[in-house]
Symmetry: D3
Subunit: 138 residues, 6 copies
Amino acid sequence: MSTIKPPADPESNPRVKAVFDDIRATRKTDFINNLWRSLAFDPALLEKTWTEVKQVMATPSEFDPLTKELIYIAVSVANSCSYCVHSHTAAARAQGMTDAQHAELLAIISLAAKTNHLVTGLQVPVDVAFDAGASDHD
Amino acid sequence: MSTIKPPADPESNPRVKAVFDDIRATRKTDFINNLWRSLAFDPALLEKTWTEVKQVMATPSEFDPLTKELIYIAVSVANSCSYCVHSHTAAARAQGMTDAQHAELLAIISLAAKTNHLVTGLQVPVDVAFDAGASDHD
Amino acid sequence: MSTIKPPADPESNPRVKAVFDDIRATRKTDFINNLWRSLAFDPALLEKTWTEVKQVMATPSEFDPLTKELIYIAVSVANSCSYCVHSHTAAARAQGMTDAQHAELLAIISLAAKTNHLVTGLQVPVDVAFDAGASDHD
Amino acid sequence: MSTIKPPADPESNPRVKAVFDDIRATRKTDFINNLWRSLAFDPALLEKTWTEVKQVMATPSEFDPLTKELIYIAVSVANSCSYCVHSHTAAARAQGMTDAQHAELLAIISLAAKTNHLVTGLQVPVDVAFDAGASDHD
Amino acid sequence: MSTIKPPADPESNPRVKAVFDDIRATRKTDFINNLWRSLAFDPALLEKTWTEVKQVMATPSEFDPLTKELIYIAVSVANSCSYCVHSHTAAARAQGMTDAQHAELLAIISLAAKTNHLVTGLQVPVDVAFDAGASDHD
Amino acid sequence: MSTIKPPADPESNPRVKAVFDDIRATRKTDFINNLWRSLAFDPALLEKTWTEVKQVMATPSEFDPLTKELIYIAVSVANSCSYCVHSHTAAARAQGMTDAQHAELLAIISLAAKTNHLVTGLQVPVDVAFDAGASDHD
């Protein structure tokens, strides 16, 4: 199901074709997943989204590509985005994530969720020692 | 503020003292942060929580300690746990996280949240290619 | 799938029929969507829910009907309610939402989610200037 | 802090006074907590909110008052509503919740959060056996 | 769909078989639901998860089994975990939850969500009277 | 509190000064709120965030400025971002939001949250009529 009607022939629009071509070149695959096909309903939104995803996720940076995918999965699980969990788990596997690493990732995510709820239930006051900015703000 | 009354002298309880001693030994610091002081109101809950946190976060495993903290922060931000964001950002810094890495972590987390909401708004159908288990589950 | 068994012939119950009739009259359509068919398992819960939805969403008020649907979609996306995103996007389209407006709505929602997570990751202290009630509450 | 300016003398408005009087009579206390003082900025919203809270939470029903508060706390923790966690934990204590029950409540809430995230990370398909409504909905 | 490939014959692994046998004995049923079949991809994660679920949910404690399931459902709804809502609603029914109780549970959960969002929108300051721990921390 | 140390004199960095100058010019005010002061710890992240916020929120588009703020507030409440609720409520007031509109906004947000949780608890199947894209995606 979908809340928008994806174009039947998205690459007939040259702006869409340019993005799809860049996705294929960047990822070295012919596969264009449904997110990009859906976003093709609005070429400007497609362009902006891909530009940002490419810049953050597919450009050499402080973290290696697998670490970035692990962080992405963690957020996607906590935000309960089924599609995103699927697509970024596939991406992590493409970056070499093993079953043992997948199991550990799930153990960390679920432990974090557990202590998040425990701390919120207790309303633990933040330790003064954790404040990196106290003397600069207000 | 807090929803429980932490014990005024938690280490007078030998079960609490044993956990606090293990926290100090494991982390090589005298600092016991408020989460553990709060959990001291129920020694069994304190013991179980620390045992699991130590096993997942402070035992050599598939991921290095900094990577584990990055994942923990990601979940804590998405679950809007203020205390947890503070405590695990402090832990990540103790593991060597630089300002540049912190900025990139925030860029990944916030991009993930952005596409999570975009995908949920579009209700993008999951690509069949992402299903790792299709032939096993019906 | 569903966690309750919707009645096979809901309108045989006069309380359910009265609500369904009011839905049809208010919305000027014969279509009763699954939410109301599901709620028919408990006529009191059905009545209360419809009464409130009708009062807030289908009564002339400060905001026009499309604006109300945009707000409803925004909350439903952030709460990851797939059914609600579908039903209120359909309602917004029935109120005249264009593809361009839909794309902009998604851009605002996803930007808000992005900065929500950025702010939570930074734990930005609230500016005193934003406090509307400081002098009244302690 | 607050996003609205609560009226300095809320009970000078007879609609507000009527609600506050009913809160005091229903709860057998003179204490009016800040939620109601805040809602006094819009008497209609105050009336509707109190009417519903009183009907659901303060009327004899299927569940005893403590069980209702435990459910309320569970939702409030998962939704990360600091004020709500505080106010409903106080209400649960007023209904007799002991420290041992509080600790168990937190253990259940945090375990549920843990498995929620584990299941979402795994994207476990729903067992057909769990569908209560399969034959009624298509 | 699933992000992992569940083993085709999970009980050929003796660690998995031991957990499945314990699930059957504890629950007095031959039915092993998909969560456990999915977790079988990592026997250690399966063991730890079942051990904790059994200890918290299937051991005599402060709350009766139905109350525990109600709390579990409440968290699962707020965290938008479709599988968990299904499995724990089935568990609550197995513990005797009636349609009237289910309707009331949903009324409490949805009212809590409503006031959670109202309070967060108002940013109501926490009443000093709700602080159980003020004199002990900071 | 804060997880980063905001620069003591942010405008000594010319990239930060350029952004701050543009914020002042765009908003026609000398006030720079804490989000931007915090982001100054990483000029690149500051630039990208402001560029996007300005493009989406401060450029003439399909929706008027107040409508955009209402949507932003709705997402921020559902994501439980205290700072964001404060800052965007202040922005909505600056765009002319009255107390009556604020009360209605809160009524819509909290009703949406209520039905989101009700629908998730019921696991209502999506009506086929709501699918805008069925024939295009498989």
